[in-house]
């Protein structure tokens, strides 16, 4: 998973249009996949640092908790219904989002397009 996130980090760095969308987003996001935690430190639309957890001392703005199988389905080219969006994963009980959800919603297009960088063959 760390390798996947690093690939997304690199792709984000090469997408000026996407970093422009996230230019006001400087927050830490906790991505939890099964028992593994990753603290994603965003800085003005760049993913400045990926900090593997667990950590009880790293503050985060919002958290997305899911499982590897669900993420794999999410990143398929044509996901099945429910697996096609992070809120879909929540609706079908395969993810939880907690913390400052408004922060996520204010930056939702940026964050969704960042996640889409994990798509098979995705270039968003």
């Amino acid at each position: 998973m760390l390798e996947k996130i690093e690939t997304m980090q690199s792709a984000l760095g090469k997408s000026p249009q996407l970093t422009r969308l996230g230019r006001l987003f400087s927050e830490t996001v906790l991505l939890q996949v099964d028992a593994k935690e990753f603290y994603l430190h965003f800085e003005k639309g760049e993913l400045a640092n990926i900090e593997p957890g667990p950590s009880r001392k790293t503050p985060w703005r919002f958290a997305i908790r899911t499982d590897a199988e669900a993420l794999e389905a999410f990143w398929a080219p044509r996901p099945a219904p429910g697996f096609h969006d992070i809120f879909g994963l929540v609706k079908i009980g395969r993810a939880n989002i907690d913390g400052d959800i408004l922060s996520l919603v204010k930056n939702l297009r940026f964050f969704k397009e960042f996640l889409a960088l994990g798509l098979e063959g995705g270039t968003a």
Binding site: P79, F87, G88, V105, L108
Partner: protein, 281 residues
């Protein structure tokens, strides 16, 4: 260079005592079909069907922008008003447009909140229509979002709304049409999407009316996309089951805005639905 067959005009109608300038588009000749857009959007959602000659060769398709939406201005004094759509105002608007355009018992085709009001009209004013195509339509379901997200002074409600509703678009939708669909949400007026959702997420009055809908003279066909997170196939099935004689089709590769997000995928379902309205012709 192409010039489309769609023509757009304005009609001034009185709705609940207030004169409103309503924009409408139409194309085709034949049996009238009045098309209602979703929350937070406008007539452009119907652009492909209005340009579909297989549909317009036998049907006159008319779509209008609800007041506050698209090219229809909000009513005078809007600057001192909180926009909150209600069932009564929505019904009054649809009936006023029907009357102003002298539509004789049109088929009513509505999507999302337009589908919801189509079913309300099926229950309360069936005599004014000849059939109902209710798309992504359900009796009621609670919001899975906070409607106040979409009307804030510190953020762009349209951009947030578009990013949220993208959850309802099928991965089969062509990218161009996905973004055309989202553009309407991005560019809707401040507070309009929230005001529409107030109607959509708070008014449960349809639930108890479903069993009173009679489909013998005015067929009801419900269409729902498998990728619709807002009105799920389960929501649509529950609704269809509660209406005696209603029919339902689940569209496996479509989402909440089928006519706009994936026109090629949707058109066979819409043409099939029009065929089901034949009994009342």
């Amino acid at each position: 260079m192409t010039i489309e067959d769609i023509t757009g005009r304005y009609v001034n109608v009185e709705i609940e005592g207030q004169t409103q300038r309503v924009y409408f588009e139409e194309a085709g000749t034949g049996r009238p079909v009045l098309c209602l857009h979703t929350a937070g959007a406008d007539t452009r959602q119907w652009r492909h069907l209005l340009n579909d000659t297989e549909v317009t060769s036998e049907h006159r398709l008319i779509a209008f922008d609800m007041p506050w939406h698209g090219k229809s201005l909000p009513p005078a004094g809007f600057e001192r008003e909180e926009y909150l759509l209600t069932t009564d105002t929505y019904i009054a608007t649809v009936l006023a447009v029907c009357e102003a355009l002298a539509l004789d018992r049109p088929i009513l085709a509505g999507c999302s909140m337009g589908g919801r009001i189509a079913l309300q009209l099926a229950a309360r004013h069936a005599d004014r229509f000849s059939g109902f195509i209710a798309i992504e339509a359900s009796d009621f379901q609670a919001a899975w979002y906070d409607i106040d997200w979409f009307d804030r002074p510190d953020a762009h409600g349209g951009e947030m709304g578009a990013a949220l509703v993208s959850a309802n678009i099928s991965p089969y939708a062509p990218d161009v049409e996905r973004w055309n669909t989202l553009w309407m949400f991005m560019s809707s007026g401040p507070g309009v999407f929230r005001g529409d959702l107030s109607f959509y997420t708070k008014d449960e009055s349809l639930v108890e009316r479903l069993s009173s809908i009679t489909t013998k003279q005015t067929p009801v066909h419900i269409l729902v996309g498998a990728y619709d997170l807002t009105c799920t196939p389960e929501d649509a099935k529950r609704t269809a089951d509660a209406i005696p004689g209603a029919s339902l089709t689940v569209m496996d590769q479509l989402g909440h805005f089928p006519m706009s997000e994936h026109p090629e995928g949707f058109r066979p379902f819409f043409i099939d639905a029009l065929g089901r309205m034949a009994a009342a012709a």
